[in-house]
């Protein structure tokens, strides 16, 4: 049979599904995501917070560092300072808006760094097993035994940040220490998931049909082992923002001209402040919680969208 005849005989087959079905898993997941209200809620929240981080001027014209002691501890009101004033008479609203940049960068970068590092380590350990696994696990355990905060304090005391350092340097320093201490968590999770997926028949079958190790890892093991990592990574985002707050509270995280939710929450947590001006604590905490919630919801929605059984 000639090439042309072959073409012709399959022509009716060719014209319908190839475009849509030929696309990857991503498009199927996207179709699924679009249908979920929770995805839209979380996406809108995240877009708002990211806009705050990128362009705080869009949300407020007040200088977050402008202090007027006469206004100190002013209560929130609809016809005055919306979120009230803090101890030094700075606008809590402006500070909360401006704080998004530092907090989101620390949270997101630390999450991305721990997840990537943890996933690579976990994949290698789980897939290759043997001595690779043993070595990676021991290294992980060394970092695992150092409490996040203690390690952070030690590191940042040893390598203190100067007040003049630009925000990005301060942020990256915190991200570095959080990632260094946080990756074993993700690595263990990933390793466990890989060990669970590795002996499954479809991995065997892929081998029997001639798949290379790279393809087995990326097409077969990774997509099936990803779900728990996505969930934990999004929850960790909040943990990292909180860790930054604590480090800043101790005076070794972000240095003062820098504004972050964490440092504002710490500022507002003094005994006197909580009774005198609870709004100082309320608004940055609320924004922090909403951010964490938005990312957890997004993580949940993404995980579900990638699981064909839930479609």
């Amino acid at each position: 049979m000639t090439e042309a005849a072959t073409e012709q005989s399959i022509a009716p087959v060719g014209d319908v599904p190839s475009a849509s079905a030929g696309r990857s898993e991503w498009s199927a997941a996207w179709v699924e995501l679009r249908r979920k209200p929770l995805f839209w809620v979380s996406a809108v929240l995240i877009v708002i917070f990211v806009a705050m981080a990128v362009a705080p001027q869009l949300f407020t014209h007040t200088d977050p560092r402008y202090a007027n002691l006469a206004d100190a501890f002013k209560k929130p009101s609809t016809h005055g300072p919306l979120f009230g004033m803090d101890r030094q008479g700075r606008s809590v609203y402006a500070r909360t808006i401006y704080g998004a940049r530092a907090s989101l960068s620390v949270g997101l970068l630390a999450t991305v760094a721990t997840t990537i590092l943890g996933m690579i380590m976990g994949l290698l350990a789980g897939f290759f097993g043997g001595w690779v696994d043993a070595i990676l696990q021991r290294i992980g355990e060394i970092f695992f035994t150092i409490p996040l905060l203690l390690g952070g304090i030690l590191f940042l005391y040893k390598f203190p940040t100067s007040v003049d350092a630009p925000l990005i340097v301060q942020v990256l320093k915190i991200v570095f220490v959080l990632a260094l201490l946080g990756w074993p968590n993700i690595a263990r999770l990933m390793r466990g998931a890989v060990l669970q997926v590795k002996p499954s028949d479809y991995v065997q079958a892929a081998k029997a049909l001639g798949a290379k190790p790279g393809r087995i890892i990326f097409s077969h093991i990774l997509p099936n082992a990803l779900a728990p990592v996505i969930v934990v990574a999004t929850i960790n985002l909040g943990v990292y923002i909180a860790a930054e707050a604590t480090l800043s509270f101790l005076g070794i995280g972000l240095q003062d001209p820098a504004i972050s939710w964490g440092s504002d929450i710490s500022d507002a947590s003094g005994l006197g402040e909580i009774t005198a001006a609870p709004h100082m604590l309320l608004f940055p905490s609320l924004f922090l919680s909403l951010t964490v919630l938005a990312f957890i919801l997004l993580g949940d929605a993404v995980r579900d969208a990638f699981d064909p059984k839930l479609r």
């Binding site: 049979m1 000639t2 090439e3 072959t6 005989s9 399959i10 087959v13 060719g14 319908v16 599904p17 190839s18 475009a19 849509s20 079905a21 030929g22 696309r23 990857s24 898993e25 199927a28 002996p199 499954s200 028949d201 479809y202 065997q204 079958a205 892929a206 081998k207 029997a208 049909l209 001639g210 798949a211 290379k212 393809r215 097409s219 077969h220 997509p223 099936n224 990638f306 699981d307 064909p308 059984k309 479609r311």
Partner: protein, 350 residues
């Protein structure tokens, strides 16, 4: 339907079966599993060969080494703990066991391919089935997405999946067991392999579907002149499709014969026991004869003939020394039993 490009690639490849159509020549294959409890000798010298268009059934109980044989041929044995410790697996004259892993991988899929017992777990749950079949064409043939998808749909139609175009977008869990096995078969034959190994392809299916799948395999084999190795514990499945049967026990082939000869008159007490343990309508009311005892622990295979503790023909000669070798006991038939002639004679009188 012949694809010109396929023909060219087949002729251009260096894998040519022998002049008599010999595809696979397995000699004295030995596999052991090194576990904490000791060394389990899973395969102890298996010999067989496979020709173009031939169907060889490997029959045995679970633990007899039939799946391990398949894995050793494919080179997908989990190692450790599994190790091939001896023998040769010659495919078109080349010993696969001596090839480096990178070369060996190129044999899997385009030359020797395999389908598994449970197609649900053998298909990746997170990708649509059409995508999974198409991936074979994309990775091995370098086709673009839409061409590969078109081929995948065509293949799904060939394995008789109704509404293949729509179903290509569905996920494995959305198919019935029989349909899943068809998809697995489509993936396995996608690259037009010379040998297809089917490891209990119908065990997880109900009887009517079993027959359809076996028929499909037989048709595909006819169409493509594939050598088919059918691994099963089900005597009923093999009777219709197999040309030749190798019966395995404790990692050895104990009998090998053409299918008709073996069914008509088994030459090994174990085969005889297996055949007698099939329920028969004409013997309804009589007690079903089963083989007493259990298969041996592979960590401690009994000396002599490994089957002797369960064998009603066993004499002192069976109980120690080397296991009886597989020897010719009739025209083109082999059995590994000291008393094969007696077993055959007794069978002929019945």
């Amino acid at each position: 339907m012949t694809d010109t490009a396929e023909e060219v690639s087949r002729i251009g490849s260096r894998w040519q079966p022998g002049p008599d159509g010999l595809l696979l020549d397995v000699r004295d294959l030995q596999v052991e599993f090194r576990t904490r409890e000791g060394v389990a000798k899973a395969i102890n010298g298996v010999d067989f060969d496979l020709y173009e268009g031939q169907t060889l059934a490997i029959l045995g109980e679970s633990g007899s080494g039939k799946s391990v044989t398949a894995q050793a041929i494919m080179g997908i044995l989990d190692s450790p703990p599994g190790f091939v410790t001896g023998g040769t697996v010659e495919y078109c004259g080349t010993d696969l066991l001596k090839l480096p892993e990178s070369r060996r991988r190129t044999v899997r899929g385009p030359e020797i391919s395999m389908i598994f017992q449970d197609a649900l777990s053998a298909l990746n749950p997170v990708f649509p089935v059409g995508w999974q079949i198409a991936e074979m064409f994309r990775k091995h043939r370098g086709m673009n997405r839409s061409d590969a998808m078109r081929e995948a749909v065509r293949l799904m139609e060939r394995v008789q999946i109704p509404g293949a175009q729509q179903r290509a977008k569905a996920y494995p869990h959305q198919f019935s067991g029989g349909m899943r096995q068809r998809i697995m078969i489509a993936m396995a034959i996608a690259l037009d392999p010379a040998i297809l190994i089917a490891d209990e392809p119908t065990t997880a299916l109900d009887v009517t579907v079993q027959a359809q799948i076996m028929q499909l395999l037989a048709d595909l084999q006819d169409e493509r002149k594939m050598g088919l190795i059918l691994i099963t514990h089900d005597l009923g499945v093999v009777a219709d499709v197999a040309d030749r049967i190798a019966v395995m026990y404790a990692g050895r082939i104990v009998e090998q014969a053409d299918v008709f000869d073996l069914y008509a008159n088994p030459g090994h007490p174990y085969t005889k026991g297996l055949l007698e343990s099939i329920p028969r309508v004409d013997l309804k009311g009589q007690e079903l004869s089963a083989i007493g005892g259990l298969p041996p622990n592979l960590l401690a295979i009994p000396p002599g003939c490994p089957f002797h503790p369960r064998c009603r023909y066993a004499q002192d000669v069976c109980k120690d020394g080397a296991p009886p070798p597989l020897r010719e006991v009739g025209r083109n038939r082999y059995a590994a039993c000291h008393f094969a002639e007696d077993v055959l004679r007794e069978g002929a009188h019945q």
